[in-house]
C-alpha cells in the first residue's frame, strides 16, 4: 500500500521542511529553556562539589552563605576544628561585585579561601595555584581573564596566576578566587574617608572617649577599622563520621547553623533558584502550548487544502483510518523535523548563552515524547475535520 502521508510530504517537501524549520526553532527555544534550568541546577551542584566541603557552618538562623548573608568571626573555625569528627575546617568569604576588566567590568563572585583548604578551586585549566599570601587570583574562564592579566578589586590589583572552569555562583556569576585576608579586606574594610569620619564620631562620643581612661579610644578605633569576619566555615568530615552527627554537634555546642550537603543542595535548588525555575516552567508550558497550536493550525490548514482530495479518497473506498493515519503521520513527521531542528539548534546556540546550558539526553528523550504527543493531539482537530468530509461532496454540487 502506498504511504499517502510520505507521498504528500515528498510532493510539498519545501513547504513541509520550512514549516518544520520554524517549528524546530520554537522547539529549540523550549529545549534551551529546559537547558537553562538544568544548567542552574548543575551550576549549584558543581559549586558545592568543587568546594570540597561536607558541611557549611554559617551564622545562626540564616540560610547562608549563598542564599542569605552570613557573618561569623574568623577564629571560630579553630573551635570547630577541635570537635570530634573533623578532618578540615576553613574560613571562606563570598562577595559578588563588578570587577574592572579593561574599559569594561565583569560581574563576578570574589571568593576568599585558604590555600590547601576546603573552598579552594578543585582544578585548574591553565596556570598555577595561588602560592603567595596576597594579590594573586585564580579566575573562572567565563570572566574572560587570561593568565597574566591584572584585576582591580577595591583598592588592590591582583595578578591572575591560574584559570579554572565551571566555578560559578548560583546566580551564574563566574568566580574569582583570592587569598582569604585580601577577600576579607575587600568585603569589610572601609575606605579612608569613612574611617576618618567614623573616628571623629567615636571621639565625639563622651562614653567612648573618657579622659580618665587612656587607650580606650585607640582600642575602639582599632576594633572598628578592621573586621575579622568571614561568611562561612567549610568543614570536611573525617572518615567514619556522619556529617549529620557532626552538624548536630556544631549546632548544639557552637550555636551556629550547620548544613550538610543535601540541605545545602535543597537550599540552592529548592529555595534559591525556585522562582527562576517556576519562571522557566511557565515559559516551557507556554512554549509547549504555542508549539501545539502551531502544529494544529498547520496540519488543520494543510488538511483543509485537501478536502476535495479527501472526499474523492473516501468516495473511492479509502478507509477512514487510512485518512486519519495520513494526517497523523504528517503531524508526526512535522514533529520529527521540528524535534531534529530544535535539538540541533539548541546544541549549536547553547554555548553562546552567558549562562551554562545543560542539554541532558534524558530531556531530549522526554522532549521527543512530548513533541510526538503534542503533534498527535494537535492532529486530532484536522483528523476530525477530515472524517467529517462527506464523500458525496466529490459528486456534483
Amino acid at each position: 500500500m502506498i504511504n499517502l502521508a510520505g507521498r504528500d510530504i515528498l510532493h510539498s517537501w519545501s513547504k513541509f521542511v520550512l514549516t518544520g524549520l520554524g517549528l524546530g526553532l520554537l522547539i529549540g527555544v523550549t529545549f534551551t529553556m529546559a537547558g537553562v534550568y538544568r544548567g542552574m541546577v548543575d551550576d549549584a551542584k558543581v559549586m558545592l562539589n568543587n568546594s570540597g566541603a561536607d558541611l557549611w557552618v554559617v551564622q545562626k538562623d540564616t540560610l547562608g552563605p549563598y542564599a542569605e548573608s552570613s557573618s561569623i568571626p574568623d577564629d571560630i573555625y579553630r573551635g570547630i576544628l577541635g570537635m570530634r569528627g573533623m578532618a578540615q575546617a576553613a574560613n571562606v568569604s563570598y562577595l559578588t561585585m563588578q570587577v574592572r576588566k579593561g574599559d569594561t567590568d565583569v560581574r563576578a563572585m570574589v571568593v576568599g579561601f585558604e590555600p590547601g583548604q576546603p573552598g579552594e578551586p578543585s582544578y585548574l585549566v591553565a596556570g598555577r595555584r595561588i602560592t603567595r599570601s596576597h594579590y594573586e587570583a585564580v579566575a573562572d574562564l567565563k570572566t574572560g581573564f587570561a593568565v597574566g592579566d591584572r584585576i582591580r578589586i577595591r583598592r588592590h590589583e591582583y595578578a591572575v596566576v591560574g584559570l579554572t572552569r565551571r566555578m560559578v555562583s548560583s546566580g551564574g556569576d563566574p568566580m574569582i578566587f583570592i587569598p582569604l585576608k585580601d577577600a576579607q579586606e575587600a568585603q569589610f574594610l572601609k575606605d579612608n574617608d569613612a574611617i576618618v569620619n567614623q573616628r571623629a564620631r567615636i571621639a565625639a562620643n563622651p562614653a567612648l572617649n573618657r579622659p580618665g581612661v587612656p587607650g580606650l579610644l585607640e582600642a575602639i578605633n582599632a576594633s572598628q577599622t578592621s573586621n575579622r569576619n568571614v561568611n562561612a566555615v567549610l568543614v570536611r568530615v573525617a572518615d567514619g563520621h556522619s556529617p549529620e552527627t557532626v552538624a548536630q554537634d556544631i549546632r548544639r555546642w557552637k550555636h551556629l547553623q550547620a548544613f550538610i550537603r543535601a540541605q545545602m543542595e535543597d537550599i540552592l535548588i529548592a529555595k534559591l533558584i525556585a522562582t527562576a525555575a517556576r519562571q522557566i516552567a511557565m515559559f516551557l508550558v507556554i512554549l509547549t502550548i504555542v508549539s501545539a497550536a502551531i502544529v494544529a493550525f498547520i496540519i488543520y490548514t494543510m488538511t483543509l487544502g485537501k478536502i476535495r482530495e479527501i472526499a474523492v479518497l473516501k468516495l473511492i473506498g479509502t478507509h477512514n483510518r487510512t485518512i486519519a493515519g495520513m494526517i497523523l503521520q504528517q503531524a508526526l513527521g512535522l514533529g520529527l523535523i521540528g524535534f531534529a531542528v530544535g535539538k540541533i539548534a539548541a546544541t549549536i546556540w547553547g554555548p553562546f548563552f552567558p549562562r551554562y546550558i545543560l542539554l541532558e539526553p534524558g530531556d531530549a528523550v522526554r522532549g521527543f515524547v512530548i513533541v510526538m504527543v503534542v503533534c498527535t493531539l494537535a492532529s486530532t482537530l484536522a483528523i476530525r475535520a477530515a472524517l467529517k468530509v462527506d464523500p458525496a461532496t466529490a459528486i456534483g454540487g
Partner: protein, 237 residues
C-alpha cells in the same frame, strides 16, 4: 456478483426533510443499464440528476425502492450491503467533472491506488494501472505528476482510475464539461470503447449538447422522475 447483468433500479425514491418541508428529489425512478452500454442521464438543474447519481453511488441512502448491481440486490427499502465503502471501492467507478486526481501521487499510483485499497499487491496493482494507461493511451505519462498533464490526459487517467477495480458500473458526472468539442467526443469515444472492452455499464450525467447525440439510450430526468428515450447513437470515429 454477476457482471453480465449491470445495474437495475426500480421505484427508487429519495425524500429530503420531513413533513411540510419535505422535498421529493426522486420519485419512483426506474433505470436499467446493461454491461457494455453507455447511457446518458440528462435533465435541467434541480431535476434530481445528482441525487440519483449519489444514490447509485451508494453515498446517500434512497428513501425507498430497489437497486441491484451485477445481479446482487444492494438496496431494497434499505441497504442490503453492510459496508458501502467496500461496495464503492470494488463495484462502482467514479468519473468527475474535474479529474480530481490525487496531486501527490504520480499517474501510475493514482490508478493503482484503488486495487491497492482493495488489498491487491503493489506489483499487481501497478501492472493493472499500466495496462489501463496503455489502453487509454497515456502510458507515456505513467510517472508524471497530475499537475504535469493536460486536461485531456488528466481525464483519461481519471477514466483509468474508475476502471481500476473492474467495476460492473461506472458513474460519470459531466465528464466532458470542461472540454472542447473535439476532446469531449474523444472522451465519449474512450468511454464507449472501455464499456465494450471491459464490459462495464456506464451512466453519464451531462448537460453537454455536443455529446448527447452519441448516446444510444438516454434517460431524461425532470422533477425527480425519469423517462427513457432512444438516442441518436451517432458513431464515434
Amino acid at each position: 456478483m454477476n457482471k453480465e447483468i449491470g445495474i437495475h433500479i426500480e421505484g427508487l425514491s429519495k425524500r429530503y426533510g420531513e413533513g411540510a418541508t419535505a422535498v421529493d428529489a426522486l420519485k419512483e425512478v426506474n433505470m436499467s443499464v446493461a454491461p457494455g452500454e453507455v447511457v446518458g442521464l440528462i435533465g435541467p438543474s434541480g431535476s434530481g440528476k445528482t441525487t440519483l447519481l449519489k444514490c447509485l453511488g451508494a453515498v446517500i441512502e434512497p428513501t425507498q425502492g430497489r437497486m441491484t448491481l451485477g445481479g446482487d440486490v444492494i438496496y431494497d427499502n434499505g441497504w442490503r450491503i453492510s459496508d458501502l465503502r467496500v461496495l464503492r471501492r470494488d463495484s462502482i467507478g467514479f468519473i468527475f467533472q474535474a479529474p480530481y486526481l490525487i496531486p501527490f501521487l504520480d499517474v501510475t499510483d493514482n490508478v493503482a491506488l484503488l486495487p491497492m485499497l482493495a488489498g491487491r499487491p503493489n506489483g499487481e496493482a501497478r501492472a493493472r494501472s499500466l495496462e489501463l494507461l496503455q489502453a487509454l493511451d497515456v502510458a507515456h505519462r505513467a510517472s508524471a505528476q497530475p499537475s504535469e498533464l493536460s486536461g485531456g490526459e488528466q481525464q483519461r487517467v481519471s477514466i483509468a482510475r474508475a476502471l481500476a477495480n473492474k467495476p460492473p458500473v461506472i458513474l460519470a458526472d459531466e465528464p466532458t464539461a470542461p472540454l472542447d468539442s473535439e476532446r469531449a467526443l474523444a472522451v465519449m469515444r474512450i468511454l464507449n470503447q472501455m464499456a465494450t472492452q471491459y464490459h462495464t455499464a456506464i451512466i453519464v450525467v451531462t448537460h453537454d449538447e455536443k455529446i448527447i447525440p452519441t448516446f444510444k439510450r438516454i434517460y431524461h430526468i425532470r422533477d425527480g422522475r425519469t423517462f427513457e428515450e432512444a438516442g441518436e447513437g451517432r458513431a464515434l470515429q
